[in-house]
């Protein structure tokens, strides 16, 4: 199961960042103030690591400390390096540091990219391992609870906001890379998916990089990206047909606990080739207008935002918990529909959608009752709801612009208390000092306990 989790992360985290890295060399979003503060409060002469440093925006916040940037994504690290930072490529799950060598670590917008609870715990434990006793760790993860949007599920794939790269496009071309798609005016026909994303977007001028984001390269405001669904799209139709129904990417609505995943895969096996057995929980929240997560209403440009992604509702008739699927579609600008799919090689997640958003990833690792409930649902869906034709036809009407080439990024969004619970129950070597919400992120500061063996 860990292999499947790694595959998911490869496709929907690592490959996306790697492919989109070139578009962010000149788009440095602001450092989150609380993170800056944390770094500035570290003692002079501290050894600090930013695990998941991206292009390195936090690496030079404090000149009195030695800050190492680490990221899985080579191209992003190269960018940080070009800015004069000390960086390396490595894996959060296997940090290449000796034990107890670092005085502080920041992990900003990283843990939410791990697709199973076990991996999230491992990542945190690794960071704890390399901290000196008394050393502090700050973690930021995207919150499920957002003021202006509603995540249906905790495990989500978020499409790339092409408009983000469109500004950079004008001046840069990437030799050797796939041909970037032209920036379409709304009237242009839909082009084949570009190397960054496959949506054509209504680019609304106010959504610019002056807005800060919780992460370096988060897509811009939801309000700005509407899929310009051109009906022509043979590419998309052809694409969706070639996938075949058995290769849809299905996703659990709760986090992928290894044991649950294993059980479900084993028991769902007979249903493998049945269209109805699996559900996608691709996330996508309706594009609201300027969904701003911070408190007071302010114009875009002055607010720091969390990941204001555009996310499109995934609607499938098969999803019982979205009986209002067609109605939901109205929320989407551009009225975009369609399932997000992955191509065949990525199909490792089998099973069905859980019925409720109440499936809390913060729950126990595995709960046989839920697993069986899920499986009952599989059967139910299979027999009664299985109507792949419906889904296909929906897509035929409106081409699936969110195809697998659309660099969807995987996130496990955290519920309130979930991150805290994770540390409390599974990372005994850390003591939580403070926790809270910062602009739509759950944030925790923890300290490495003394005398940990």
């Amino acid at each position: 199961m860990d292999h499947e989790a790694a595959q998911l992360e490869k496709q929907h985290v690592h490959d996306v960042y790697e492919s989109t890295a070139p578009y962010f060399s000149d788009l440095q979003s602001k450092a989150w103030p609380r993170v800056r503060q944390f770094l500035q409060e570290q003692k002079p002469g501290s050894l600090i690591a930013d695990i998941g440093c991206g292009t390195g925006k936090y690496l030079k916040v404090n000149s009195q400390v030695y800050t190492l940037g680490c990221d899985y994504c080579g191209p992003l690290v190269e960018i940080a390096r070009s800015r004069g930072c000390e960086v390396m490529v490595c894996d959060n799950l296997q940090l290449p540091f000796r034990d107890q060598g670092l005085d502080a670590i920041i992990s900003i917008g990283v843990i939410h990219h791990f697709s199973t609870k076990q991996r999230r715990i491992r990542a945190i434990k690794e960071m704890a391992r390399v901290l000196v006793p008394g050393g502090q760790l700050m973690i930021y993860v995207w919150a499920m609870e957002q003021k202006n949007r509603h995540f249906e599920k905790q495990d989500v794939l978020v499409p790339w906001n092409r408009a983000l790269c469109s500004r950079l496009f004008a001046d840069s071309s990437q030799p050797g890379r796939k041909q970037p798609c032209v920036h379409p005016e709304r009237s242009q026909p839909y082009h084949p998916p570009c190397s960054v994303c496959s949506c054509s977007v209504c680019f609304q001028e106010q959504c610019h990089s002056q807005r800060s984001h919780s992460l370096d390269y988060e897509p811009l405001m939801a309000g700005m990206c509407c899929a310009d669904v051109s009906k022509g799209g043979e590419e998309e139709n052809g694409f969706s047909n070639t996938l075949g129904r058995s290769f849809r990417s299905w996703f659990f609505s709760r986090s992928l606990d290894e044991s649950t995943l294993r059980k479900q895969i084993e028991r769902a096996r007979p249903l493998k080739n049945t269209e109805g057995w699996a559900q996608s929980t691709i996330s996508i929240q309706p594009s609201t207008h300027a969904s701003l997560d911070a408190g007071p209403q302010e114009p875009f440009s002055t607010r720091e935002q969390n990941l204001d992604e555009d996310v499109f509702v995934e609607t499938s008739q098969k999803q019982l918990e979205w009986p209002r699927a067609p109605a939901t579609m109205k929320h989407l600008c551009g009225d975009q529909q369609g399932e997000v799919r992955r191509n065949g090689d990525g199909n490792f997640l089998e099973g069905a959608n859980t019925s409720e958003n109440g499936m809390n990833a913060g729950d126990v690792d595995e709960s046989p009752p839920s697993a069986s409930r899920i499986l009952r649902r599989i059967s139910a869906l299979d027999s009664t709801d299985s109507n792949p034709e419906e889904t296909i036809s929906v897509e035929d009407q409106q081409p699936n612009v969110l195809d697998s080439r659309a660099f969807m990024r995987y996130y496990h969004v955290f519920r309130e208390g979930e991150l805290y619970g994770l540390l409390k129950e599974h990372v005994a070597e850390l003591h939580v000092l403070s926790s809270g919400n910062d602009h739509g992120n759950w944030c925790i500061i923890a300290e490495k306990k003394d005398n940990c063996d």
């Binding site: 860990d2 292999h3 790694a6 003692k43 002079p44 002469g45 501290s46 050894l47 009195q64 030695y66 190492l68 899985y72 080579g74 690290v77 190269e78 390096r81 000390e86 960086v87 390396m88 490529v89 490595c90 894996d91 799950l93 296997q94 940090l95 290449p96 540091f97 000796r98 034990d99 060598g101 670092l102």
Partner: protein, 125 residues
């Protein structure tokens, strides 16, 4: 990659544990990059340095004037601090390798960036 960074790095090849430190450094391209001298900063680094690893790396790079260890009153010894400043912060390995002393696994350094990723097979648990 600076030598202060090297001083923190350890091999995480499966099964190696603490025997993965320090990584054996080989460099084919090294650059000296001036860094502003901050004596207080350097002084605070001294207690954190793993000296044997530092000396081994410095030796590989044929560096001279490398203190063999903290000296009495080092906090106020400018010459000592400047030497340490140079060794830890100004020597930049641009191209080379880091080798796990236990398994022999090589990690490349390219354009100043060490790549510490293991392959899927190596990380399987």
């Amino acid at each position: 990659m600076k030598l202060l960074t090297h001083n923190l790095l350890s091999s995480h090849v499966r099964g190696v544990g603490p025997r993965g430190f320090p990584l054996r450094l080989q460099a084919t391209e090294v650059r000296i990059s001036p860094v502003e001298f901050n004596p207080d900063f350097v002084a605070r680094m001294i207690p954190k340095v793993e000296w044997a690893a530092l000396l081994e790396a410095a030796d590989t790079l044929h560096l001279v004037e490398v203190p063999k260890g903290p000296i009495e009153g080092y906090e106020h010894d400018e010459k000592f601090l400047r030497q340490m400043h140079h060794v830890l912060l100004e020597v930049d390995v641009l191209e080379g390798t880091l080798q796990c002393p236990e398994s022999g696994r090589l990690f490349p350094i390219s354009r100043g960036i060490p790549n510490m990723l293991l392959s899927d097979e190596e990380t399987e648990t």
